[in-house]
């Protein structure tokens, strides 16, 4: 009886633990994010003999326009990697203090994106400050378009009072979210253009992050993608 119990336990043990061989980190098999109201599990491909298929297995694209981007997109902007994104997904995305932004055009986004991402094409951040599409996008980011404010009030803000460091003549960034912007990878200029557009609008630098690896590195690590509905 004892022998039967031991054998059964040994047979059942692997299925109970279901540990993955290829984890996200040494002590994290997978994470889960909400995407389009559904729970998506982000994990890596477990087949250790798998060779990457699809468009992101290409090594070369014409440069220009698809040129290698610098590690630092602009002074004061942090470049992040996958581990920072996983932490972001488990903290800022859950408490809604942050957004993961796919800055590519809709054609790219609709073919597949990183789970939990929202799509704001980089072109939006080059629009005029009074353009409704830009105001919509900035509203999602937590930034509010300001009406005309009095000179006295603006002077007080410029002295550093009334959260003046988070406001300019056009925008109130007091409730601006922390952002990670990404695009196709180290050869893609879409998210750098978006980031530079946000800097020009006055978005707080400490709230901007650049995932330079983008879809290229995400795919090369065998990480889960979703296709928007």
């Amino acid at each position: 009886m004892n022998t039967v119990f031991i054998v059964l336990s040994l047979l059942l043990l692997p299925s109970i633990s279901q540990a993955l061989d290829v984890k996200l980190t040494a002590n994290k098999d997978f994470i889960e994010v909400v995407d389009s109201g559904k729970l998506v599990r982000i994990e890596r491909i477990q087949d250790q003999s798998h060779i990457l298929e699809g468009s992101f297995s290409k090594t070369s694209r014409k440069c220009p326009p698809f040129c290698i981007q610098p590690m630092i997109v602009s002074d004061g902007i942090t470049t992040v990697g996958q581990l920072e994104i996983f932490n972001f997904m488990e903290q800022e995305l859950i408490d809604e203090s942050g957004l993961l932004i796919d800055a590519r055009t809709p054609t790219w986004y609709n073919r597949g994106t990183i789970p939990g991402s929202i799509n704001i094409p980089f072109t939006v951040f080059g629009l005029d400050e009074d353009d409704p599409e830009l105001i919509d996008a900035m509203n999602v980011l937590g930034a509010k378009r300001r009406d005309e404010i009095g000179g006295f009030e603006r002077s007080i803000e410029k002295l550093g009072f009334m959260s003046g460091d988070l406001k300019n003549d056009s925008w109130d960034f007091t409730s601006a979210k922390k952002l990670i912007l990404w695009c196709n990878g180290p050869w893609c200029g879409q998210s750098p253009i978006a980031i530079k557009g946000l800097i020009k609008l006055g978005y707080p630098l400490q709230k901007l992050n650049y995932y330079r690896g983008g879809m290229q590195v995400w795919q090369s690590l065998g990480l889960t993608v979703v296709t928007p509905e």
């Binding site: 909400v34 995407d35 389009s36 109201g37 559904k38 729970l39 998506v40 599990r41 491909i45 087949d47 798998h50 990457l52 298929e53 699809g54 468009s55 992101f56 297995s57 694209r61 014409k62 326009p65 698809f66 809604e96 957004l99 590519r104 055009t105 809709p106 054609t107 790219w108 986004y109 073919r111 597949g112 789970p115 929202i118 799509n119 704001i120 094409p121 072109t123 939006v124 353009d131 409704p132 599409e133 830009l134 105001i135 919509d136 996008a137 900035m138 509203n139 999602v140 378009r145 200029g189 879409q190 879809m215 795919q219 065998g222 990480l223 889960t224 993608v225 979703v226 296709t227 928007p228």
Partner: protein, 137 residues
């Protein structure tokens, strides 16, 4: 003041204006070329099949009072054939910038936008129509 009437000054000013126009047109052209290149590259795009997700069932996330749209560009359009009040509520919830602009319009102009929406529910087209109407003021 006599200097500004000098022919050489006028020629230089004209030359600078022409060069600025060319550089602006060149910039617009290069932006357009970049977008064309992007769309061309995306045409035959495919991702690795083994990375496609397996979604779990829908969950009701009620933590946010304002649902964040997945896509700002939103080519699918606003839900068609909404009542005027529901149309305005949808704009307020999902297209706040457009909503702000509409609030500045007169009631007949708001109805004009609503009539436009009944024939074309594309958010981009609606935005353009709102701007066109607002410029009449």
């Amino acid at each position: 003041m006599w200097f500004f009437k000098k022919p050489i000054f006028l020629v230089n000013t004209t030359l600078i204006s022409i060069l600025l126009s060319i550089s602006q047109a060149g910039f617009a052209q290069s932006s357009s070329n970049y977008l064309d290149a992007l769309e061309g590259e995306a045409e035959n795009l495919s991702l690795d099949r083994k990375t496609q997700s397996k979604r779990s069932s829908r969950i009701n996330s009620s933590s946010s009072s304002t649902p964040i749209p997945n896509s700002i560009s939103n080519a699918d359009g606003i839900q068609p054939n909404l009542s005027f009040d529901d149309f305005m509520l949808d704009l307020k919830a999902n297209y706040f910038g457009t909503h702000i602009f509409i609030q500045r319009l007169s009631n007949p102009q708001k109805q004009e936008v609503y009539s436009f929406y009944l024939n074309n529910n594309n958010p981009r087209a609606i935005r353009k129509e709102v701007i066109r109407i607002s410029k009449k003021n």
